[in-house]
Amino acid sequence: MTEQSTNWEPKIIAFLCNWCSYAGADLAGVSRFQYPSNIRIVRVPCSGRVSENMILSALKSGADGILVSGCHPGDCHYISGNYFARRRFALLSNLLDFIGVEPGRVNFSWVSASEGEQFAEVVQGVTEKVKALGSASRLVKKIDALETELQVA
């Protein structure tokens, strides 16, 4: 899965919280801050809503990178959602690193509604990291594996 054509572009799933990061993405657009078009945004009410199941499902379905972004600590619309999320993401991030998922595949950030420029920077940074890693293969499901095996037969 390392062979890549020169025009390969990664697909990055971005889980953005409705109140800060999604608004931040909006602001980046309105303010014409350029950022790579590799991200596919999933709007969620709060970073605390993003479960490990969603992140790993996205990887399984072939996302090359994941970005989860919420309000800065202290700014959560639901007061404490992102604090809870921070603990869960810290453990998940370490666990994924532990099993050998490349650092940089799954990313987390805080971006507020007023940080259009920062949002563009984060996306830029994440996209570069994922591009450097190449297309994802770890924890990515391929159902043609079995068929290939039979064809070899």
């Binding site: 072939g62 159902i143 037969a153």
Partner: protein
């Protein structure tokens, strides 16, 4: 029936020979990943080198994975938008390549015959049967957990084997049990077995038959209601953790589930092992679960093997390999269950 004589060196040569033309599998005695994507762990691919080592008793994994792969693709389709065949299902090409499974024990060979009863009309099972040859080794020694003789089998049985190896003083005598077995020995320069050795094996078998018990067969005539309401199920169900270990390592557990998997527009419908131990197995969409309690599921597994299956097909759905006895996390022992059932008034 043809009976041949084979030395250990000739056996190695035979395996090498087979592996040139076929996929040859042998038991993996140390922890080893699956030999192929649709084969359960516990078997290794033989690619020409490496002698066969067998442990006493049943092979670590049962042979059912070769007949009932985990998973089997039933059909494939595409869900790509604007594709003219979107949603149209196609039957996958069934592999016809011969696979030779070496090191099979008589209990597992019998399990294939038992599973064949419900799968008589199943195209996938039958295709796998046609392409799989079982090369078995009768048991000189049994484990304390083996009870094949109680289940109508024999450690020296050759039933269901295409080639059955039995140890002699200096090697093996090989009974050719089928056309597939015949094909495997064709072209090999093998001497016929000595008459004395054939008689010796027959005598050993005779002795085995005499020692075996048919007491369990009385279970078949029992009234279902009495067995079903027997007091033994409550404590058993309470200890059981309802994992699927017993059903997955069992050579004769044959339930399956069917599911669709779609990845990036390409889909397939697969069937894979399921276990009646799981609550999901019988759960209705409404939320009603006919076997919602642990004890009901535990009972279902044992009664299926010892009552429902015999009612339908005749024999018990158990070959007495003892794998579940060894590996049950909470030491539920089917031998004990059978004795308790026999004691039910």
């Amino acid at each position: 029936m043809k009976v041949l004589k084979v030395t250990p060196a000739e056996l190695d040569a035979m395996m090498q020979q087979w592996s040139k033309a076929h996929r040859v599998y042998a038991p993996a005695l140390v922890k080893q990943p699956a030999a192929s994507p649709n084969c359960a762990p516990g078997w290794r691919r033989v690619d020409g080198s490496g002698a066969l080592t067998l442990s006493t008793g049943p092979t670590p994994a049962s042979v059912k994975t070769f007949f009932f792969p985990q998973p089997e693709t039933l059909l494939t389709y595409t869900l790509e938008n604007n594709h003219p065949d979107k949603g149209l299902m196609r039957e996958p090409e069934k592999s016809k390549e011969m696979q030779v499974v070496v090191g099979v024990r008589p209990c597992d060979a019998r399990s294939v015959l038992l599973n064949n009863l419900p799968y008589q009309e199943d195209p996938f099972f039958q295709a796998n049967r046609r392409r799989t040859a079982l090369v078995g080794f009768t048991c000189d020694q049994s484990l304390s957990t083996c009870f094949c003789t109680q289940m109508g089998g024999s450690p020296l049985g050759s039933e269901g084997l295409d080639l059955a190896f039995s140890r002699t003083q200096d090697g093996f005598i090989v009974e050719v049990g089928s056309a597939k077995g015949e094909a495997l020995v064709t072209g090999l320069d093998l001497a016929p077995a000595d008459e004395s050795e054939i008689t010796a094996l027959a005598a050993r078998r005779q002795k085995e038959v005499k020692a075996s018990s048919t007491e369990l067969d009385t279970l078949k005539g029992r009234e279902l209601g009495k067995l079903y309401d027997a007091p033994l199920w409550q404590p058993l169900g309470e200890s059981c953790i309802n994992c699927g270990a017993c059903t997955f390592i069992c050579p004769t557990c044959y339930c399956f589930d069917i599911q669709d998997e779609v990845v990036r527009g390409q889909g397939r419908r697969i069937r894979y092992w399921d276990s009646c131990m799981f609550p999901l197995y019988s759960l209705h969409t409404s939320g009603h679960n006919p076997r919602g309690q642990k004890v009901q599921r535990t009972r279902n597994r044992f009664l299926h093997k010892l009552k429902y299956f015999p009612d339908r097909f005749g024999p018990f759905s158990c070959v007495g390999c003892g794998r579940c006895v060894q590996d049950c996390p909470v030491n539920i022992d089917i031998r004990e269950v059978m004795n308790d059932l026999l004691a039910v008034e």
